[in-house]
Symmetry: C2
């Protein structure tokens, strides 16, 4: 018997038929002798519809009220799913975030989990019931409903799995797992059987939409094995774990898959996958006086308006070492107010010009293997060069290299790099690739 947390996104419970399919899967898992905790998102487009209605009433909805509104979607789906599971003869009880003991701070709209006390959930599964928990929500110390922001349901699932010491947290979505690149861009992308938490974090942080960053961080911190898979098929998905052959997983992972995983791990591919991101913009501040602290001031101002600066490059014109150009990328949603804030400090900063380029794309190559393989950068730059693609900015971590290109070159860049690193599958897998909901 294992303790399994299953998370179903909005597309997996989009309508009554989908809900029944999920209930069947939950019941099958229960009847196979496992303890099952289910985390469920709002049905299909519910959240967007609620947002639209709110937008018709006000452009400045109080965040506390917005959380009450949006959390209703998960309350509906958790109640319906509980009914559907009960209908199949397995006792199930639904719990709100508050009832599942998900304590958060009071930052409505993007609350952080500050404590997990899932007593009622634990009692339910010990009593042979399936526990169904509303994703995306918790409660503050004032007993107000809070929501966890984007990817909140993934975070709920992983946090519950950690608190309950679950053997695995299954993330059900509408794709078959993690791929070596977005199959919409690279039809020969292959599904990853296993990937480490660190690599997944880098992919998620740099544009891969399969799993939310925060959930992966949680999984790494509490060492929760994740299994990302499709709710529309019985296929194995992708195992995300630093210990793919974890003894607790015996019986959950088919022997064949484990064996293959181990073999693949031995082979140690240099690169696991390629993430891409179209949602970043670039700002360049030209001819800033090249004095200590000036670059720091630019990023202080960006931080004051809450801009999430990603890559930074500072260079000095050869002909005038007393000046500097500072370029950085940031989410497009942050660009306007950052430009305004910098413009308002033009005199203080003493720059000549603010340049704004919304047409950039970022490609990130991720792989634990690059730690020990010095040729990765050269191969990457060579592949891009051969495809005639200019590189603008570059940033690296221990297991990632990211480059910024023109937006219009991004797809070709991803394809060229995928091929150059030998990631192309011999047979194209027919997949649908989409977001994970929340």
């Amino acid at each position: 018997m294992a303790l399994i947390v299953q998370k179903y996104g909005g597309s997996s419970v989009a309508d009554v038929e989908a809900m029944k399919r999920v209930a069947k899967r939950v019941v099958d898992t229960h009847n196979a002798g496992h303890q099952v905790v289910v985390v469920v998102s709002a049905m299909g487009d519910t959240t967007d519809e609620l947002l639209d209605t709110a937008a018709e009433l006000t452009a400045n909805a109080p965040k506390r009220e917005m959380d009450i509104l949006l959390s209703a979607g998960e309350r509906i789906s958790m109640a319906l799913l509980s009914m559907a599971v009960n209908e199949l003869g397995v006792p199930a009880t639904a719990y709100t975030g508050a009832q599942a003991g998900i304590h958060t701070d009071s930052h409505h709209g993007k609350a952080q989990i500050i404590g997990m006390v899932p007593e009622r959930v634990a009692r339910a599964i010990q009593g042979g019931e399936v526990a169904i928990v509303a994703g995306f929500q918790g409660a503050s110390k004032d007993e107000d409903t809070t929501t966890l922001g984007r990817g909140g349901s993934d975070t709920t699932a992983v946090a519950l799995a950690a608190a309950l010491h679950a053997d695995v947290c299954e993330i059900y979505t509408d794709v078959d797992g993690l791929f070596s690149a977005d199959p919409r861009i690279v039809p020969k992308a292959h599904r990853l059987r296993t990937i480490s938490q660190e690599e997944t974090l880098e992919l998620a942080a740099h544009g891969a939409k399969i799993l939310h960053l925060r959930a992966v961080e949680f999984a790494r911190r509490f060492n929760v094995p994740l299994h990302v898979r499709s709710s529309f098929s019985e296929k194995e998905g992708t195992w995300i774990s630093n210990a793919p052959a974890h003894p607790d997983l015996a019986g959950l992972v088919p022997e064949a898959a484990l064996a293959t995983s181990k073999e693949e791990t031995v082979e140690e591919p240099i690169i696991s996958g390629i993430a891409h991101d179209r949602s970043q913009d670039k700002i360049t501040v030209t001819n800033v006086p090249n004095t200590p602290g000036t670059a720091a001031r630019v990023f202080e101002i960006a931080a004051e308006v809450g801009a999430n600066v990603d890559m930074i490059v500072q260079n000095t014109p050869v002909d005038n070492p007393s000046l500097a150009n500072i370029s950085f990328t940031l989410p497009e949603a942050d660009a306007r107010r950052t430009l305004d804030a910098l413009e308002a400090r033009r005199e203080e900063l003493g720059f000549q010009e603010l340049r704004y380029n919304p047409n950039i794309g970022k490609l990130s190559l991720v792989g634990a293997g690059m730690r020990t393989n010095p040729g990765v950068s050269a191969k990457l730059f060579g592949a891009l060069s051969a495809a005639g693609i200019n590189i603008d900015l570059i940033s690296t971590s221990e297991i990632r290299i990211s480059v910024v290109t023109d937006l219009e070159d991004l797809d070709r860049a991803v394809q060229a790099v995928h091929t150059a690193f030998g990631l192309d599958s011999t047979e194209s897998e027919a997949v649908v690739y989409g977001g994970t909901g929340r």
Copy 2:
């Protein structure tokens, strides 16, 4: 400054435009210097849609889960209304039933309020905010969401008004108040300016759908003045109070209305209104042995299956005093299982036949004036007789006479009695008459 509780039913917040209209009225009341607590139902058909979805999944939804599901409708509407009020510049905060301190027992689907501790609501209005409370819901001691059953939002409003010692509880609906009869049946029905709580109770208990019985009982017990009015107009509605010139209401009731009310009270009409009810069925158990306790057994069996027996008549055939026929009415929803339960005890009860008549209608004449006016029954029977309508069963209280007729005669009966008691308005008021939602 008065403390006003306003309750808006589902039809008053059916869409965004209606929601804005309600917000405007709330803000106007607040800006007139009053403290305002708003109780809101789910938008339009939300509840029915949720019920339909649940029905697609199961015919046996767990009641606890059904309460979670249905209560989501009020959470959505309270959040949206709070946004709409804030948008108009008045601070408002939304509270769930649990947050408003509405403590109930654990009878999911028809929970009883066992305690009211609306601390957060009181603090909000003392701080100059509008408090918006989800109708229809509370929380059990297990912190599970409960719903209060039919008319639950009315009950929430009256209970809050009682706990907060509100000066008035305004029940907004899609009609202009209480009428002397259903205007769809009697076009000449007139709006009542004032009516006592006892009379309202009798009308509500016997088919008038304007206000829920339980809410009126609460209002009587805690002496909460009710004002039933339309959210679609500024017109005065109907005041339900045993003390229509209550000093706390100064400024809330236009002088003219108060004066008129007093005059009308002096005039003391014998009859306030006529309720009708098509939802009852009749069961007759024939030739039961006429022994002590046999009738009691029949009603014990009905009680065991939860049937809500209303009117009862027992009579003995002239030619055989050792036998009795027992007839009773009950809600049509209770009929099938009551018939089954009686049939299963046929031998024990020793009856000859079970007769079932779903085609009956009940007319109830209500008026405090009949206490002191002995001619009411005679006038009622005379009017029905003149219209050629047979009376089947009769029951009375101190301020009510009810009669059962053939269903097909009911409308004519209501019209004839309305005219006979001089209730017809000289001018027809154009009204839409509907349910109150919940």
